[in-house]
Subunit: 339 residues, 3 copies
Amino acid sequence: MSAGEALRDGGARGAARKPGGNPALRYIDTVLRGCGQVIFMNSPATGLLNLVAMFWGAFAGGTTLAVASGSLVGALVSTAVAYPLGADRDALRMGLFGFNGMLLGAGIPTFLANTPVMWTVLIFAAAVVTVVTLATDNLLSYRRTPGLTFPYVLTTWLVLLAAYRLAGLQIAGTPPAMLASPAQSTGAPIGIFAFLHASLVSVSQVYFVDNAISGAIFLVALVIHSRWCAGLAAIGAMTGVAGALLIGADRTMILHGLWGYSAVLTAPAIGCIFMKPSPRTLIYCAAATLFTVIVQAAVSTLAQSAGVPPLTFPFVLATWIFLVARRPSDIDVTYVSDL
Amino acid sequence: MSAGEALRDGGARGAARKPGGNPALRYIDTVLRGCGQVIFMNSPATGLLNLVAMFWGAFAGGTTLAVASGSLVGALVSTAVAYPLGADRDALRMGLFGFNGMLLGAGIPTFLANTPVMWTVLIFAAAVVTVVTLATDNLLSYRRTPGLTFPYVLTTWLVLLAAYRLAGLQIAGTPPAMLASPAQSTGAPIGIFAFLHASLVSVSQVYFVDNAISGAIFLVALVIHSRWCAGLAAIGAMTGVAGALLIGADRTMILHGLWGYSAVLTAPAIGCIFMKPSPRTLIYCAAATLFTVIVQAAVSTLAQSAGVPPLTFPFVLATWIFLVARRPSDIDVTYVSDL
Amino acid sequence: MSAGEALRDGGARGAARKPGGNPALRYIDTVLRGCGQVIFMNSPATGLLNLVAMFWGAFAGGTTLAVASGSLVGALVSTAVAYPLGADRDALRMGLFGFNGMLLGAGIPTFLANTPVMWTVLIFAAAVVTVVTLATDNLLSYRRTPGLTFPYVLTTWLVLLAAYRLAGLQIAGTPPAMLASPAQSTGAPIGIFAFLHASLVSVSQVYFVDNAISGAIFLVALVIHSRWCAGLAAIGAMTGVAGALLIGADRTMILHGLWGYSAVLTAPAIGCIFMKPSPRTLIYCAAATLFTVIVQAAVSTLAQSAGVPPLTFPFVLATWIFLVARRPSDIDVTYVSDL
């Protein structure tokens, strides 16, 4: 059974709510669901608000218009390509072939200069990310394990690593490649306002946006579809920020949300999306979220030695480990629709 | 079903054409098929011509006698070791336990100094590559995914990385390990003759030979067994060179065939060997071949930071992704015999 | 069938010998078996002697009290956590959820400064290593492949890599991150006494102890449960030392046992634990053990470029390759109880 098939029930229900009509409108609805699935929501309204938050960041500061537009282009292309590639129709209809494209489309203009070659590569890579998604789902389906954002991480890393060899792609935003060196002790404790601000920015940094109001809009977009998921995402952000503070991570990076964004995704993934919520699940979720902070640090070290950002791989690795450790019958990919 | 079993039909037919006789002759026939299987050909004539092209490069320039001899030794050893290891007899008979040994035997003397210790390690590693091939086939068989040249890549990388710690193995040809740094814009466009020359050299660089006439002999060796495969290999080479030029890769490396050799393998692998040729397949093949150029750049960046060459891993990664994305029933490993 | 289930027979027999009684005593018995399973022994006596060897090293020199205590804490925590996580009871009873915790608990204080934050992270990581063990077993069970010490390697690497970003964890023992550079030819041959000493120290370095008497105690701990395993571990150590000497590894590191400790584990793993002992198996085992020396060198190069030690990953990689290359029916995880 493919991940797509596992999701069929939820998909069928989603499809039932929007029973068809104009193909163009159905495609737009599907793309918007893809923008919602970045944070597990099979909801066009969540997706639309997510796009609003992106463009708010581009308007008010914290990201650029290229990043916001790229995220839309990425979702449009990766979703469109899924039809001729024969993706499972129910999974497709739920937006499961859009969220990797959305993130890739935001990530590439964040780190590469805004040139025609960059846009050409972005569109091509957004098409390829659907192939990578199909491959990932096929590899993992025998354990009912979701591919998460791995296809986006792999494809974006390949494009950024490639840019170091291709003068047509100009590196603009990646930190220079550096060998691992001991951490420097950093600064004074932070106040409660700075703590909450860092947590909101952590939510927006899932999407490469460094803006607390965008973070609040992303949370509202969650609340309208799933309070459980919204609550766990907020707790994940605060756990990531608090854990990073306690164990001595770089203060400036924490304030810019770069230590919390992976935990924003791990907490709902383990706590309510892929496992049935329960007190036992919440303890398990807390361990996975704290572990994500250590993985965030480890992946940052490795990625910087290669000259690339960690993206959401810390979330992917921690969540995969905690899900694969369960029996396949413990993994449920339909709860999101029920919340 | 193992990859070997999947290939049984083709193998049985191949065996039928050469129904046996002298065991020594059968072994030589098998080794030659292994030299043909580097580029997917279950043909002793292709294998023999491939060896001619290697020794032509050693004679005329573009590689050394150690590399050409190493490729023969590698194929002899890896094939011989497959018998006592209990490899599937039909797969063995088709040369599927020779091509990784051939490439490893060419690769090690390309990058390590020609000493008795190097030859001892080469022979040992050519035996181990058969163990790695069995392990790779076993891991991937549940998805009917071929191991491709991954066993050669992994084993050769291990030997080259090991050489940095072992004074008995002197590194002679690997570029020094370097952190990723931004690409330099490079030079003027090239003419049509240089373009075709670079494409032919790309074919010969599959085998670590930097010689256009060798490249032409490798193509002739393909034409006599499969025009489809020869055509797609040539188109793959030109796509690799053209893609690298357009996106600003280093001009000197392009002219030495170092940007096209992976695409030489991806194009026939997707276009006619592991999928049924069709217009849809050709579009899919074009995307996979272009993607191989990006993967070539990305793997080069990562590999150089470790001090090793990318070998054919870009082909392996791109082809695996594009094959695993299909349903197992879409993957066919018997077309090569029918072409 | 999970690895745990595959081991059920052996486990049942082990359980039969100690039919229950006081739960606290049973837990201590299980933890001691875990300390024995580092080297494949389902024996509380072996585990107890292993701990004696650790504390001997802390007392006589060659390691610290933090490392010896950490190994005990790691085994206690990782075993305890396995109960609420629902691990297979027979596998748990055999100590299969203790040995990764023991090694992680020894490894972290070897490389990080002895601070309260380090101990907090050690205890948390020892709990997580049980989750990683469950995930590894689930992933590999379809090929009846044991997880070996991979969970310990992965989790310890993540903690050490994380320390480069977290000022709360002070790096104390890892060699600085360095790009690969050519090996230096090193020194004169060594005498038979130095050779045997280096071999004994190689045994103790499995546990991060640099002490020949500890090495001898570790061997005695093996002899009392399995002479085959003790003999192969000793031969593995000598093969690792001899191979490293012949091929030009750094003399000082050889004398400190850092070239033999992986081979100490590969030799019994292939020779008598996971395959049925036979003359064919011994030849296969010799090849795997020699290959481990090359993998040790390769992994050292890669790991040093990331700023971490190779740990026992060379053993894991070589043993996985040589086991996965066999048919699942050739892999037997119950021989250890019969030896």
